[in-house]
């Protein structure tokens, strides 16, 4: 079941530069998209989200872009900081009785070098 794909298992970036993490999905029923960040020995932490009716959402250094026609979303982190080093999970959700049931990608491990 590969409804949500993160094709890059890892990404290495210099501090201060832009990090771009990509995600593709196949199910057109998804109506909400999220990015989670995960440090070792911790649970995923919600980072940023975007509704399917929008194409961009920005929160500080983090921006998520959604291209519905291409079924593609990306997370931009500018400027990248060493503390951003973590595994980033893309998730696509469909509503179910008021709750959102996410389908996760496999994650991309981001390393930001000082």
């Amino acid at each position: 079941d590969q409804q949500v794909k993160q094709n890059s298992p890892s990404l290495s970036v210099q501090e201060g530069r832009i990090s771009i993490l990509n995600c593709d999905y196949t199910n057109s029923m998804f109506d909400y998209f999220l990015w989670y960040k995960k440090y070792p020995a911790e649970g995923p932490t919600f980072l940023i989200s975007i509704s399917s009716i929008k194409d961009k959402n920005e929160d500080g250094r983090f921006t998520v872009f959604l291209n519905k026609s291409a079924k593609h979303l990306s997370l931009h982190i500018v400027p990248s900081q060493p503390g951003d080093s973590a595994v980033y999970f893309c998730a696509a959700s469909r509503t179910s009785g008021g709750s959102y049931i996410p389908t996760f990608g496999r994650g991309t491990s981001l390393i930001v070098h000082p």
Partner: protein
């Protein structure tokens, strides 16, 4: 800041034994979830719970699994007869009413079945 807590952090059990994983969601949240992540694989949805009943469950959540909210604070996942392939990290999550897409995850319980 309120957080989801899970106990124990690590549980080792023998195949065929019953285990109960415990979670304390954020106090004013209404939706509760269990996920698992087998080592090296993606986070997978197991079950969602709302208003004291299961609202949705995945194919993984078969008859050996059950969930319960025995009091106003705890949310438990029971695995009746554990199998080797149940070894995984189990994450509990909760979300509120207004922003139910934003799920707060606990740190996880690592279950090892021997």
């Amino acid at each position: 800041e309120p957080e989801v807590t899970q106990t124990p952090s690590h549980q080792v059990t023998q195949m065929g034994q019953e285990v109960i994983l415990r979670c304390v969601p954020i106090s004013n949240h209404l939706y509760f979830y269990w996920y698992r992540q087998i080592l090296g694989q993606k986070v997978e949805f197991l079950v969602s719970f709302y208003n004291n009943e299961i609202s949705e469950k995945s194919e993984i959540f078969d008859d050996q699994f059950s969930v319960e909210r025995p009091d106003g604070s705890n949310f438990t996942l029971k695995i009746r007869s554990t199998k080797l392939e149940d070894s995984a990290m189990y994450f509990c999550a909760s979300s509120g009413w207004d922003d139910s897409y934003e799920q707060y995850f606990g740190p996880g319980t690592r279950l090892t079945v021997t």
